[in-house]
Amino acid sequence: MIDLTALLKEILSVSGLSGFEGPVREIIHKTWEPLTDALSTSKIGSLHGFKKGRGDDPRRRVLISAHMDAIGMMVTEIDDGLMRVTQVGGIDHRILPGQPVTVHGREEMPGVVVQPPAHLLPKSLGDGPVPMKYLFVDVGLRPSEVSKKVRVGDIVAYAQAPLELTGEALAGHTLDNRVSVAATTLCLEALQNRLHDWDLWAVASVQEEETLGGALTSPFDIRPDLAIIIDVCFAKGLGANDWRNLPFGEGVGLGYGPNIHPALYDAFEKKAKALEIPYHRDLMPKMSGTDAMGVQIVAEGIPCMVLGIPLRYMHTPVETVSLRDIRRAGRLMAEYVADLTPDALEQIHWEE
C-alpha cells in the first residue's frame, strides 16, 4: 500500500513551474515506473504512462490527465542584490509578502518574498496591498553573489513545507495539482490487482496553468476514446461559500457543464453511487478551468469527464486538502477504468 502522506510530501518536495516541469516529472517517472508497462515523455514534456489492457486488439483507450505544473514566479530584474519578480500562473499578490521561496538560479537558493517599507513605495499605495512589481525576493546573499548566481528569467518557486493538520488534512503549496497526480498514482496502484480491458494512459501534463500546452498535445499522441481529467476544485472555506464551493473532505466533485460529456457524467455518478463514494455535482456553467478545456478539442474531439478534489485557499502556498478525498478520487477512477467493457463506448453517446 502506498503511504499517501509520504507520496505527497515526495512529489511536493521538488518544483515544476509551468514550462519547467523537469524536477517533478523525474519524481513521477520514478513513482509510476513499477506501476505502468511503459513510460515516455512527450515533445513538450508531459509524462505518458501506459498500462496495457487485457482485451483483444484493437483495444479502446482511456486517458487520465493530471497536470503536474505549478504556479510560481520568474525573475524580471535584479537590483542591489534583490530580485523583482512576475507571476507564472495566477497569484494574488496580497499573499506574497513573507512567503518562503526557492530561487532556481545557477544553484537553488532559499529566500523570501519581501515588501519594502512604505517610504520606498509610491505614495499612492497608501497602506493598501503592494503590487507584485514592487515586491522583492531576498536570498540573503550579498549583491555580488546574487549577480553571479541569478539571471533574469530564473524561476522562483514556493518553498513552504507541507503541514499536517487535523482530520487528515494537509496544507502546502502546489497541492493544485500534485494531489491529482497522487490520486492517479493510487488509481494505478489499485489497478495492479484488477484486470481491465481497456488500455490506460496516465498523463502528468505540462503547462496547464499557463497555456494548456500538455492538454492540447498529449491526447493527439495517444488518441484516447475518452478522457478523465482530474484536478482540484474549490472547497468551502474562508470567503468561499457559494455554489462554486464544495464541502471540504466530504467527497469528490463530479464536473458538470460544457467541457464534460453528459453520458460520462452519468456513468461516473452511477459508479460513485454504486460504490458509496461520496460526491458532489461541481457546476461548471461555462468552462472547467482544467485540462479538459484542451483535451476536449483535440483532433476529432474527445469525450471528457472532470473529477475534482476539493481544495481550500487555491493558488496560495497554504492550499489545504483532505487526504480522504484524494483516496476517494483514486478509487473512483480505478473502479471506473476496471469496469470499462470492450463495448463501453457505445453507452457514451448523445440522446438523439
Binding site: D92, G98, G140, L238, V318
Partner: protein
C-alpha cells in the same frame, strides 16, 4: 541611499556553532508578549549555572546578577526583550476556523497565506485566503482586514485550541549564506547576546542582565526590571530594521534606510522613546573605532527599545540602545547578517571591559 557597499569579509569574526544553535532554538521558540514561557525556560536553563543570582520577577522577567571583582565597579544593566509580536486566538467559528487578533505591531498585509503554530503544543495551522479565481480586480486593490482572516487547523481540531491561545509564524530558522533568515530575530539576537556576555563576564563591572517581557506591547518588563536593579547605567540590546532596499523610483535615493546590513552594530542617538546619553554614545563609538569593529549610527527617528522605559525609572538612568540590524522585522521572516550579530557581540564585550566610573562622572558631552 547609495547602493549598499560591500564590506570586505576578511576581518570579520566567525561565530561558534554553539551560539548559532542557541539562537536557532530561541528563534524557533514561541514567546508572544504576555506568554514568554518558552523563551524564559531556555534563558533560565542557560543562565542558571552562570549567574550569581537568578530570579523571575512578578511580571515574568528573568533577572540575573553577575558581580565583578574590582573595586568601584559600575553597575550596568543590559536589557533584551524575550517577547515577540504574534497573534491571539479570540474566537472559534462554527466551521472550525479561528478568528484572531494582533499582539504587537504587525502589518496585516503580512498575514494572508502564512502558516502558523498555535498554542504551547505548536499545533500547525494556516491563515488561508480566498482563491484568486473568486476575487475581483477591485477586491485585490484592498488589503484583507485581519477581522476577516481565519486560522485553519483542519476539520478535527475540536477543543485543542481555545480563545486566548497565542500563535506565531511557523518559519524555521535557516542560514542563507552570510545571513540568517528567521522569525523573531527581534529580539532573540539580544537574548543570545546577553547569554554570551554572561559566559564571558567582564570582571570590572557588575553585570545586571534583564531578559524582559512585554516590550512589544509597552516596555512593561523593562520598567520594573530597572526599578529592581537600580543600575548606574543601562544598555538595551535589540534588533532594529535595516530599510536598505532600493527606492521604487530609480531616480530617487533612499535616504531613510535607518540602518544597513553589513554596517555593523547600530548605535542609537535618538528614537521616539529615548534620547541616548551622549557619554554612552561616545563610549560605544570610540570602543568600536579603537577595536576596529564596523559600526553605524542608527538614523535618528521613530521606533523604540526597552531604554525608553528604563531611562525614566527612579531618579533617571543614563541609557543607550545598540541593535543588530535586520531586514523585515515583525514579519514571518527577517534577514540579518551573521557578521553584524558577531560584531555587536564584540562591541559590547569590548565596551564593557573598558568601562570605568569615570564615564559617568563627567558632564554629558555635547
Amino acid at each position: 541611499m547609495s547602493k549598499n557597499r560591500e564590506v570586505s569579509t576578511n576581518h570579520v569574526p566567525e561565530i561558534d556553532t554553539q551560539p548559532i544553535q542557541l539562537l536557532e532554538k530561541l528563534c524557533n521558540a514561541s514567546a508572544v508578549s504576555g506568554d514568554e514561557h518558552e523563551v524564559r525556560q531556555i534563558v533560565l536553563e542557560e543562565v542558571s549555572p552562570l549567574g550569581d543570582e537568578v530570579k523571575v520577577d512578578a511580571l515574568g522577567n528573568v533577572l540575573v546578577k553577575r558581580l565583578g571583582q574590582r573595586k568601584n565597579r559600575v553597575r550596568v544593566m543590559l536589557a533584551a526583550h524575550m517577547d515577540e509580536i504574534g497573534l491571539m486566538i479570540v474566537k472559534k467559528h462554527d466551521n472550525s476556523l479561528f478568528e484572531f487578533d494582533l499582539v504587537g505591531g504587525i502589518d496585516e498585509r503580512q498575514l494572508p497565506g502564512k502558516s502558523v503554530l498555535v498554542g504551547r503544543d505548536h499545533l500547525p495551522g494556516v491563515i488561508g485566503a480566498k482563491p484568486i479565481h473568486m476575487t475581483t480586480t477591485k477586491e485585490r486593490k484592498n488589503k484583507i482586514p485581519v477581522s476577516s482572516m481565519r486560522i485553519d487547523l483542519g476539520p478535527e481540531i475540536g477543543d485543542r485550541v481555545k480563545p486566548g491561545d497565542r500563535a506565531t509564524f511557523a518559519t524555521r530558522f535557516e542560514i542563507l549564506g552570510p545571513s540568517i533568515c528567521a522569525k523573531a530575530l527581534d529580539n532573540r539576537f539580544g537574548v543570545a547576546i546577553l547569554i554570551e556576555l554572561l559566559r564571558h563576564p567582564p570582571d570590572t563591572i557588575d553585570l545586571l542582565l534583564a531578559f524582559t517581557v512585554q516590550e512589544e506591547v509597552g516596555l512593561r518588563g523593562a520598567r520594573v526590571a530597572a526599578y529592581t536593579f537600580d543600575p548606574d547605567m543601562a544598555v538595551a540590546v535589540d534588533s532594529t530594521p535595516a530599510y536598505d532596499l532600493p527606492h521604487w523610483d530609480e531616480e530617487d535615493e533612499n535616504v531613510q534606510y535607518n540602518t544597513r546590513l553589513d554596517g555593523g552594530p547600530a548605535i542609537y542617538t535618538m528614537d521616539r522613546a529615548t534620547i541616548a546619553d551622549r557619554r554612552l554614545v561616545y563610549w560605544l563609538a570610540e570602543t568600536a573605532q579603537d577595536e576596529g569593529i564596523p559600526w553605524q549610527l542608527r538614523q535618528p527617528g521613530g521606533g523604540g527599545t526597552d531604554a525608553g522605559a528604563i531611562h525614566k525609572v527612579r531618579s533617571g538612568i543614563p541609557s543607550i540602545s545598540v541593535s543588530v540590524p535586520s531586514r523585515y522585522a515583525h514579519t514571518a521572516a527577517g534577514i540579518a547578517r551573521l557578521d553584524d550579530w558577531a560584531n555587536t557581540q564584540r562591541l559590547l564585550q569590548a565596551a564593557l571591559a573598558r568601562l570605568t566610573p569615570d564615564l559617568l562622572s563627567g558632564e554629558q558631552r555635547g
